[in-house]
């Protein structure tokens, strides 16, 4: 959401680059173009001192706007703590063929689950991960380590001083994240139950059985989310 907001706010700036910023535009393009890994903002500022992060952002946005208008097949993205040029997703089918042999296989469900736990709980011990997943994670951790998505960050001050694990920069790159602040939001337990209840199909049938006027909801016949839950719960306890 914040990403979209930023974009919107930046659009007026895009059309209004100062003369100074315009002179830096091709330089920044050259830097991002020649960089083989995400180019950090700090690195750009080292090379061009006196340029504020906000200005760099506007220049990148401007470049992207130029690419879009010129119908280019690539854009600059912010990923793993830096800027890098990437092809547009619509060419995936073709570029995919070029890299066919190099593309790594997708992560399995258990690898994704384990990685999610490391991402939110880091630094975390293997034991803590196993507590949450309820299964042994030796094999999965080995896979994640060999793919450099997870690494050892030290040892915990606990009996046996077990290893602590954290995610790597490669992890950010793998999921297209800017930084760890960019992780998908982890739901709270209460949200989890709400969503779960809405998923359950019996709500619709139950709604029809309840006399809504009894609940004092005459006007609101089509049922807001909240009412729906109340109805569901009541019916459930009636059944029990």
């Amino acid at each position: 959401m914040t990403r979209e907001k930023n974009k919107k706010n930046n659009i007026p700036d895009v059309n209004r680059l100062s003369d100074e910023e315009m002179t830096y535009l091709p330089i920044i393009e050259a830097l991002v173009f020649s960089s083989e890994s995400p180019l950090p903002l700090t690195k750009i500022r080292e090379i061009i001192p006196g340029l504020a992060p906000k200005q760099i952002n506007s220049i990148i946005e401007y470049l992207n706007e130029q690419y879009r208008q010129g119908g280019r097949s690539y854009e600059i993205r912010e990923i793993a703590g830096g800027y890098q040029m990437f092809t547009m997703p619509e060419f995936a089918a073709f570029v995919d063929k070029l890299f066919q042999e190099k593309q790594q296989s997708r992560l399995t469900q258990k690898a994704l689950e384990t990685l999610a736990i490391v991402a939110y709980k880091q630094p975390v011990t293997r034991h803590e991960i196993e507590e949450i997943r309820g299964v042994n994670v030796d094999g999965v951790m080995k896979t994640l380590m060999s793919r450099s998505l997870v690494t050892i960050s030290g040892r915990a001050q606990a009996p046996g001083s077990p290893f602590l694990y954290k995610t790597t920069r490669k992890f950010l790159d793998y999921f297209g994240l800017k930084s760890l602040d960019d992780l998908p939001k982890l739901k709270e337990i209460d949200e989890l139950i709400d969503v779960d209840d809405e998923d359950r199909p019996y709500h619709e049938t139950i709604l029809r059985e309840i006399d809504i006027s009894e609940l004092g909801l005459k006007e609101n016949g089509n049922g807001e989310a909240n009412n729906r839950e109340e109805n569901g719960d009541q019916e459930k306890s009636d059944q029990a």
């Binding site: 083989e36 092809t87 997703p89 570029v95 890299f99 309820g134 297209g176 709270e188 019996y202």
Partner: protein, 261 residues
């Protein structure tokens, strides 16, 4: 003729339990333990029939469920105090919900993974990566002790196994190996860790060489760097590789230590 049975794959006992709770449309805070345990066991039977590996954790969960049922059936001994009696299911429910949080978010990660696989950066040929200058410090991550130990382990594994045990006098000294490291390095600004260990043929010599490297890092003659995790480790020279200077640094340290005590 063969039949294909489509069965959801359960990542663990929590996953299976959540599935059963959802399937039975029961309240997660009010799990009918006997019924769920019954169905849980049926699934384990089915998994066995289909020759799926039933991991120990699945069976352990049966014991947990039964223990909970027993606790629910046994009358409580009033402790006299009016503290709240905890539902025997509470802990399991908390674990289930915590697991569910991560299971759900793993779906988001899968989406991100799929999106990310649709855009590509310019490829850097493998050969170019290896030719990178050791001075490109920003590309080199600092190596932790764990990385060094991993490299050491790899080197140890490469030594031919000898089954006959013979007690030998250790002839290598750390000083000798420091000299050896310096000779190998020569005038270059860095060398590969593997290059250094390749020419060492026996275990003791390798151990002493490793100790010499650690000592040189400690005394700031060398530093260990790498480009990627698990990548090749480079030993980068910080000072000129002079054996005399090394002895000096060590002696100086000894003097300081004795002064302190």
């Amino acid at each position: 003729m063969t039949y294909k049975v489509k069965l959801p794959v359960f990542e663990g006992p929590f996953d299976l339990l959540l599935f059963l709770i959802k399937k039975n449309e029961v309240d997660v805070y009010d799990i009918p333990v006997a019924e769920i345990t019954h169905q849980y066991l049926e699934y384990l039977e089915l998994m066995k029939m289909l020759d799926l590996d039933v991991a120990g954790e699945f069976i352990e969960m049966v014991a947990t469920l039964m223990l909970i049922k027993v606790r629910m059936l046994l009358p409580r001994i009033a402790s006299g105090e009016d503290e709240e009696i905890e539902d025997p299911r509470a802990q399991l429910v908390a674990q289930l919900l915590e697991y569910q949080r991560f299971k759900e978010v793993s779906g988001d990660f899968e989406k991100l993974e799929n999106e990310r696989r649709r855009y590509f950066s310019r490829a850097v040929p493998e050969e170019m990566r290896n030719k990178l200058n050791a001075n490109d410090d920003e590309l080199l991550d600092d190596v932790s002790l764990f990385d060094l130990l991993t490299a050491f382990k790899r080197a140890l594994d490469n030594i031919p196994k000898v089954t006959v045990h013979q007690v030998n006098v250790v002839k290598v000294t750390m000083e000798q190996q420091v000299k050896f490291v310096f000779e190998k390095l020569g005038r270059r600004s860095y060398m590969l860790f593997s290059e250094l260990t390749k020419s060492v043929k026996n275990k003791i010599e390798l151990i002493v060489t490793f100790m010499a490297i650690l000592d040189l890092i400690r005394l700031q003659f060398l530093s260990a760097k790498q480009t990627d995790n698990f990548g090749e480790i480079r030993m980068v020279a910080i000072q000129s590789p002079s054996y005399e200077k090394y002895l000096e640094a060590r002696d100086k340290e000894l003097v300081e230590e004795s002064e302190e005590s």
